[in-house]
Symmetry: C2
DNA sequence: TGGTCGTATTCTAGTACTAGAATAGGCGCT
DNA sequence: AGCGCCTATTCTAGTACTAGAATACGACCA
């Protein structure tokens, strides 16, 4: 049994399950869907990851159509084993509670070394960024017409986390104000 | 100006600002405070990271006391530059809103490939794990007597995130039940 | 005095990943 | 035909990190 897929591998494999694609196209899709930031898949790692998935027998080259000018593309699609691995990995990712601790926690752990006024300013900056991002994500969710159920779930999850952070931050800032 | 510190580097440096320590002791402290999981600092990377911090002039060896039997320890303490870097990095970590996207999002993005009954079971498992962890963290926070303010903040932040996820999960599960 | 125990560090070899340059190769134009 | 152009892939060299084995070395004990 192959080792589990990393989040990045699962992401690419999932896009290939959706439909066969070639490397360059994967890069474009990642951009188009705004997945660049959170998947942390850089351009240069796409071919590398594709190579690994292929070596593990999870995807296979399905043909090399040529589009207008340009070098021949290598289009990949998942093998049956790849489809199974994708479902298994997605299921595991949904079930596994592996809290990911954002850098702010490390920052808070070192809070005593930050001069108080700088700490306050840093918290203010975070609050502003938070408000802005919540608005942006809310807008993205509400303006798009026919979001599939599962995409809406991603928006909602993210918004829930951000709003929880906002509440925490409000409480923490007031508690700092009057010690 | 040195590049920014990674979370792992900031963690170690922060522990050294607290008080001078040697490698083995850092490993013990990380265990004792339950930081192993979320900092993701393995034993074997401690000396590696210490070496890098030293090469960058952020810490310096302060002596090699010997304790009972055993090889000479190398005790490090931060340099003035190291203290500054620590404060700067901690401040940046507090201010910077860099959402960290947990694997569940990748799982949700691939939700359509998961058979419905397996998805439901996976969500159930997550709910159980979530309840358990919330209870454990709540207990840890409330049973310890004199938690410093900033440590309580870390607990509260984490609890807030987990509870938000719990609310989301409840809503999502019921929405799945009756499509 | 020599063995072995416990503590702490260092070394070795390997994996994973990344940035950016180099390359491949057909298309369209003149 | 030949030349530049555009698309897409592949290569090169390096960084970062990790697991686990190997080593160092004084203390303690027979």
């Amino acid at each position: 049994m192959a080792a589990n897929l990393t989040p990045a591998e699962l992401t690419l494999l999932g896009l290939l399950v959706e439909k066969p694609r070639h490397g360059y196209e994967l890069d474009e899709v990642i951009d188009a869907r705004g997945m660049r930031e959170w998947t942390e898949i850089g351009f240069s790692s796409i071919y590398y990851l594709l190579g690994r998935l292929r070596d593990r027998g999870l995807i296979t080259e399905v043909g090399s159509p040529r589009a207008g000018r340009g070098k021949a593309r290598r289009v990949y699609e998942p093998t049956p084993e790849g489809r199974r691995a994708c479902a298994r990995a997605a299921e595991a990712a949904v079930a596994e509670l592996r809290p990911v601790f954002p850098p702010i926690l490390v920052g808070l752990a070192n809070q005593p070394v930050i001069p108080p006024e700088r700490l306050r300013a840093a918290l203010d900056r975070r609050a502003a960024a938070l408000t802005e991002r919540i608005a942006a994500i809310g807008a993205a969710r509400d303006t798009q017409p026919d979001i599939p159920d599962f995409v809406r779930a991603i928006f909602d999850y993210t918004l829930g986390q951000l709003e929880a952070e906002q509440r925490w931050l409000d409480a923490y800032r007031t508690s700092q104000e009057s010690p």
